[in-house]
Symmetry: C2
Subunit: 359 residues, 2 copies
DNA sequence: AAGCTAATCCGAAACGTTTCGGATGGTCAA
DNA sequence: TTGACCATCCGAAACGTTTCGGATTAGCTT
């Protein structure tokens, strides 16, 4: 099970065996054949730990999952891990996963990863706009790639253009005739929360519309439900609700139901994530598909390039999310109109959009 | 950054420094103080890789996520990982996560983990009743713990008693007066699929009721939707649908909606998982809460005990799942009765159950 | 004064790999 | 014949830790 075993049983030196298996040119072909044969016979597998010690690497990449109230059950991380798993394996890298709640506990975990040399690189998700984890990693000179941009920038990052998606979504709602478009957002210190809100804000400014009411909270169903209730009970009830995530939107849909409002007719709702449930909500949810697998692939490209010695500072990619129109949004209700006529115009609009999006 | 650095700068040997930091008794207190002081001064952190090589361990536990059509987005794995993360960290163990689709690719990954000595133990999830991964791990003499029982048994395992939960659920539906109770299950080669179906089957036999119609598929919303459609369109339409998972149930609820049937009134639906969406479905879904965190904790207990030298064969735990009654189930519709009266009796039953469950 | 014990410390080996800098022997050209 | 060159192989060091088996000293007993 070790090089020396092969060496002694073949009367060779450990060096030669190592170089034979390593494909070096200064070993005779016949010798290499013998070595490979013996290696297969005894089922030799190189000891990863020894190799790492000698190489001064750890051949591992770390990621820390956020654990917090209502932060679990995010399919995002699972899809991310599943997407990069095979490629990491191919590159001979392990993926080390741990979990911590945001804050000091989280940063301590990053320190542990880095200082114990347990990873060669890190993947940072659920990025904050000003993120001490990133300041730390940069200071420690450990390669990393973030999912989400930061205010400081200057590091490898892949992001989905939430500003564009939410600007588009807002424009879509404006096109439907909505004038009071509320926003249920994630906390603005989260990178994705910030940029999505910015898109909504920009589109309203461009359309010359006043800002609808807003609420922010950790993105889960319960908060979506609660915040939508608040917005719907407010003085100027919005006719459309833009939600930073599907989970918020699912909660919002529920709040509409409580208030006897029909999603897509009385109040439009648009989410983001295109999560499995969005298609099976009471009213199928119009959402944006972020192509997580694609983003994960690019993140890994950047990580591997950095491990190969490239500088990460210039690596950035901003990707688009694609609209998935379903039935939770539509034309603004006409106070004097009939549901029937609205239904028809809604369907037409929706088909238009569908056409527009596949083109 | 290494023991030798501390040793030379203090005029000690590497051995003494190691033993000082290791808490051994054959080093003078004053020396220990000096060593600890110097270690802190230069920020010494032991090199995990070197320690592992010397110890012949890898200080890591592996888990392979199933990647398959519609298998993603399972919050189960995320909750599992999040639950064991901190405890693993405390024990100085890394969690190495990879992903593969079931079958030969998956087994190859297990082999890689074991043969390259990248892990000291494995966690097996999404266990099958006859599971070649388990046969392999046993043969390789690597400690492991499964989530889910196998036919062979004789290994450390934690399972939620799906048979009991589904027997209870069926009894609940029988108590509501249902006679035709359909079952939408997961494939029976999955451990959880097998035991849940068995519970349903047993309860029907006990009640002397004929088996309702059944369908099986990978547990996702789409399949739940499709299979529920099939069952509802069949010759003997069931008045209740028991679903092996919430995702199946969510799809089934949708199918009811398509057919103009009201969940909880016209057709009862019960799921399993108590996933976040179950509370925010169109009709909040009656479900079973499996206490994943509790199970994960016990799995880790077993894993650590095995790493400490204990034999895993006798370690088994069967845990209960608790009913979370919501609005998707209720009394069987009386063909001649009024919705109103049914509503009242439904509420009463539901409160009874709620009382019963918290007691 | 000799032997014993306890308290401290340390050298060297070991874990399994990679790699630097030769070493050996043979062939070929000058 | 001698030097150059090539093909092939190998010894030893290094990565950083733990641990076995002493070694040294001082104090104490008899």
């Amino acid at each position: 099970m070790s090089l020396s075993q092969i060496a002694t049983s073949l009367g060779l030196s450990v060096t030669t065996v190592s170089r034979a298996l390593g494909g070096y040119s200064d070993v005779a072909e016949t010798t290499r054949k013998r070595v490979i044969g013996e290696a297969e016979r005894i089922g030799y597998r190189p000891n990863a730990v020894a190799r790492r010690l000698r190489g001064g690497r750890s051949d591992a990449v770390g990621i820390v999952l956020p654990t917090g109230p209502g932060q679990l059950g995010e399919p995002f991380f699972l899809r991310l891990i599943a997407a990069i798993g095979p490629r990491l394996a191919e590159a001979g890298l392990d993926l080390i996963v741990s979990s911590a709640r945001s804050g000091s506990e989280e940063l301590a975990l990053y320190r542990q990863f880095v200082e114990n040399r347990r990873v060669d690189a890190m993947i940072v998700a659920r990025t904050r706009l000003d993120d001490d984890r990133i300041a730390y990693l940069r200071h420690a000179r450990l390669p990393f790639v973030t999912h989400g941009r930061t205010r400081a920038g200057g590091h490898a990052s892949v992001d989905i253009d939430g500003t564009r998606a939410f600007r588009e979504a807002t424009q879509r709602l404006v096109g439907f005739g909505h004038c009071r478009i509320g926003f249920i957002g994630a906390p603005l210190d989260y990178s994705f929360g910030f940029f999505r809100e910015a898109g909504w804000r920009a589109a309203l400014a461009e359309a010359g519309l006043p800002h609808g009411p807003t609420r922010f909270a950790e993105p889960n169903e319960e908060n979506g439900h609660r915040l939508a209730h608040e917005l719907l009970a407010g003085p100027e009830r919005p006719t459309a609700l833009l939600c930073a995530t599907d989970r918020l939107a699912i909660g919002a849909l529920h709040a509409l139901g409580d208030a006897g409002l029909r999603p897509g007719y009385d109040v439009s709702v648009i989410g983001y994530d295109n999560s499995p449930v969005s298609n099976y909500a009471a009213t199928p949810l119009t959402s944006y598909d972020p192509d997580i697998e694609g983003a994960a692939g690019r993140m890994l490209d950047m990580l591997l390039a950095q491990l190969a010695g490239q500088e990460g500072a210039g690596m950035n990619e901003l990707r688009g999310a694609t609209l998935v129109p379903r039935r939770s949004d539509g034309p603004v209700p006409n106070p004097s109109g009939q549901t029937k006529s609205r239904t028809i115009s809604r369907e037409e609009k929706s088909d238009d959009e569908r056409l527009h999006d596949t083109a």
